[in-house]
Subunit: 368 residues, 2 copies
Amino acid sequence: MDRRSFLAASAAVLTAAAVPWSHSLARESLPLLRLNANENPLGMSPMARAAAADALAEGHRYSFGVEGMLAQEIAEREGVDKENVTIANGSTGILEAVVWQQAMRGATLVQPQITFGAVGEIAAAAQLKRVDVPMLDGFRVDLEAMEAATAKIDGPVLVYLVTPNNPTGLLTPSAAIEAWVRRAPDNVFFLIDEAYHELVDDPAYRSSVDLVRTERENVLIARTFSKIYAMAGMRLGYAMAAAPVVEALQKYYSSWSVNIVAMQAGRASLRDAEFRALSFNSNRAARDFTQQGLDDLGLDFIPSQGNFLIHEIRMPLKNYQQKMREAGILVGRDMDLGEGWNRLSIGTPDEMKRFMTTLGSLHAGGWS
Amino acid sequence: MDRRSFLAASAAVLTAAAVPWSHSLARESLPLLRLNANENPLGMSPMARAAAADALAEGHRYSFGVEGMLAQEIAEREGVDKENVTIANGSTGILEAVVWQQAMRGATLVQPQITFGAVGEIAAAAQLKRVDVPMLDGFRVDLEAMEAATAKIDGPVLVYLVTPNNPTGLLTPSAAIEAWVRRAPDNVFFLIDEAYHELVDDPAYRSSVDLVRTERENVLIARTFSKIYAMAGMRLGYAMAAAPVVEALQKYYSSWSVNIVAMQAGRASLRDAEFRALSFNSNRAARDFTQQGLDDLGLDFIPSQGNFLIHEIRMPLKNYQQKMREAGILVGRDMDLGEGWNRLSIGTPDEMKRFMTTLGSLHAGGWS
């Protein structure tokens, strides 16, 4: 199921379920758990909410200058220059702009077979040729096979890499990515999606932003405020790239057309170190708890570096979704993972206790 | 000056001017007047602000279902079906998506020489061929010449029409537009931008939405919440078109990727008939007052149907901008109107009194 269809289906589920759930939930005082969309369950930081509320007084004004201030503040935080940063309507706005730009060059998209779907969807509309490179065992990205695939392509190539990858939660080794970017021929451009960057706790990981600091012109890093900053509904993302790359990209989308409330919330979020720590720690604790619980049940899973993980289920996905939905928990989505796997989004530790209790009951009942 | 350059320059002006203005304004208690960006000076409706403030609690959630509710409510208001409506990140989001879709068909853009610049800018990136059709006397759109121009083009054509047109404020006759759309050959697609639709008071005007109600598949109407609803910084727009046109367009942009706060503010705005009337009446009163004032000074102007108008100035635009800026009023922008004209955005009646007093002084001083 592609991203658009999933969103439409989710809307239908939420609407259809509203009445029966509101009754049963009122009885049980259990809120609906949304563990299917990699959202941050904490809600926006108090500082971000306050800044957003203030910004509503300016909702009638075009956001002259605000994106420049946000870009400057991101640049300071990331150790790049303001000219290396461009703001967008979610990181999706960045992904789309890169795809259109590459479409105008006649590029071929090379990406792992299992990854975030937005680039593939817009690439279909933009008529990019496309090579999906099969995964290694354990859902790992096969960087060598990707490089070999690009070598076979005449003309421009767009390589899309998400790390940690979605839906697997696995890192692709930073050093290997950087080495490839540095040795790649001129026809290859890298779009590196670091949506989950701030949630990683593996000490071997580092962002590819060093490539931007050294002004490589064949790479762009996409980031989002949706995850660590809990702003998925606010639609705020950004890219970092060499200044000429940023300047060229801005011709392909309206970088001035970003919601002023989102940008003020984003600026406040950058200043809120306490919330960032809370967000990181809550996710890690809930993820650790969930992984331990899956282990205790003897269910296979892939240790994750994001706010989600994939794990074994012992019934068809549709039945599993239905069972969980009856308990007020939204899970699951067809991710091309193959039969017997599901991607689970990580809620708060308390929410994951509720999930594990429900999963434990299902497991004890023999998945029937 | 294109839209992007203008926005960058405006940001620079606002930043550069912040210190001296804040001093002089504190002395005089005069706020900075922004009469250069066709914003609605009233600020968002109280109902919209309240809905937006409430929505901040959901800022961490993807907006599953909210765009569907907004589309339904727009459809009810406009007498079309929900399937005829698609939501976007500002009407700019719609304009961009249409241009990319047409680029994939290899279309040529045909538009009036003087019109809103966003389509032309993205069309340049999308490598559309382009025909700018000269205006008739008095800055009127030459529909006949546009039709003749399209007839000379082999292959797909995208016709862009803004009515009332920006920056002129002039309507293009509704009946003439509709007749052309109905008789146009299959290779011509019409993008009709009705950004200022709700501000029109000419009884001869009607929206082209009737073409959607009759399921014409060669036309799309773009609308925005930026103007009548005072939501320019919130980035909320929509399109209305035949259901297959909407479905096809949604492949070219992420219709699910719209800020949830903006959408809830938009939903509340649709319900706030009182604010809509206030907004309409305030703009009309301020526009009438301004037109009368210009007449009294003997300065030529084009009677407008938008929240802006173009009028005669008797010094070079840059000098005029500077003079007004010294009085704390932002005006002006290079609009290809030719020497001696400026587009003025309409503020509140009180703001326009201040503007006219300043303009009157400049006029009395012989524009020196």
